[in-house]
């Protein structure tokens, strides 16, 4: 049996994030069959998340480099993909990645601008 591929994922944590790693960058190895969130939490980086089913967008991140698979997401729109948003709770790497994490507010605004939930109901 072939071992799943492993990719290097760099997480850039914004200065204003409510995390111990605020303002820092952390790098970890993530298997292709593993979510970015699960790998990060296993590595002691407690990224924000709620439903963990690719629905609520609490775990949103911005893709700076690489490719992410969202086929397990319950609610992920083409416009999210085009704008480079990632749902780390279900997103699995398909290449080495660089992500800016803790982007819930940004994705919420993006969803509202595109008349998509939950942005349209929370900010509309």
């Amino acid at each position: 049996m072939t071992e799943p591929a492993t990719w290097t994922v760099e997480l850039r944590v914004p200065d204003e994030a409510d995390l111990d790693a605020a303002g820092e960058s952390r790098t970890l190895e993530v298997r292709e069959d593993q979510s970015i969130l699960a790998a990060a939490r296993s590595a002691g980086i407690w990224l924000s998340a709620d439903c963990q089913q690719g629905w609520c967008i609490t775990c949103a991140a911005k893709l700076l480099e690489g490719e992410v698979d969202h086929s397990n997401a319950k609610r992920y729109y083409p416009s999210d993909d085009e704008a480079g948003f990632v749902l780390t709770c279900v997103g699995q790497p398909r290449s080495d990645l660089v992500l800016e994490v803790e982007q819930y507010d940004e994705l919420l605004r993006h969803r509202a601008e595109h008349d998509k939930p939950p942005g349209r109901s929370k900010l509309g």
């Binding site: 709620d50 439903c51 963990q52 089913q53 629905w55 609520c56 939950p118 349209r120 109901s121 509309g124």
Partner: protein, 218 residues
Amino acid sequence: MSDDKPHAAGNIDAGDTSERVGMAVLRERGLDPEELREKLLDAIGAEFTTYYYYTNLRMHLAGHEDYKEITEDARLEDRAHFELVAPRVYELGGSLPNDIRDFADRASCPDAEMPVPYETEGFELDELTAESILEVLLEAERCAIRTWSEICDMTQGVDPRTYDMAQRILQEEVEHEAWFVELLSMERDGEINPAGHFVRGEPGDAPLSTNRRFNDSA
């Protein structure tokens, strides 16, 4: 105000009804009451939609009367969770959305929809199995556990009122997960995986979270 009782004063003028001490004390302790309120609205949106979707799932468990009874308990208890926390949203200066579609849109958990396509003639019932319904129920409960755990984390040691509600709900959601783990284990895998479940006193008893039982004023 007496110098001996500084807690009797504070920054809100006597008789000022535009502010709430119940929110100010949270802010003083580092919890943003507006952020909490929004999180609670998302969470009870999920309880409310789950109550609706479980009604539909339960209707389609014909021939599995035991599954129907347990789904009924979970269904009614999710409604109890909505009713338990809705007053807290108002205490925190918020309100329920006017449009139920907004409420469903912002729910923090996915819709627990029937696991078969819906066509003009109705659901594709030939494809429907009890196993697939139990999988939907199980994943819905797991989402609820994550949501209420997040709210417990936010409020522990800071907001005892919300924490008390959230931990009551969390306990029941953990029980619901155990029920559906047991049922799905046998239905899908033929495995005995006990929930440790004793029957509720009455359908949807919500032993820990029924609002009026410990909160007559709500």
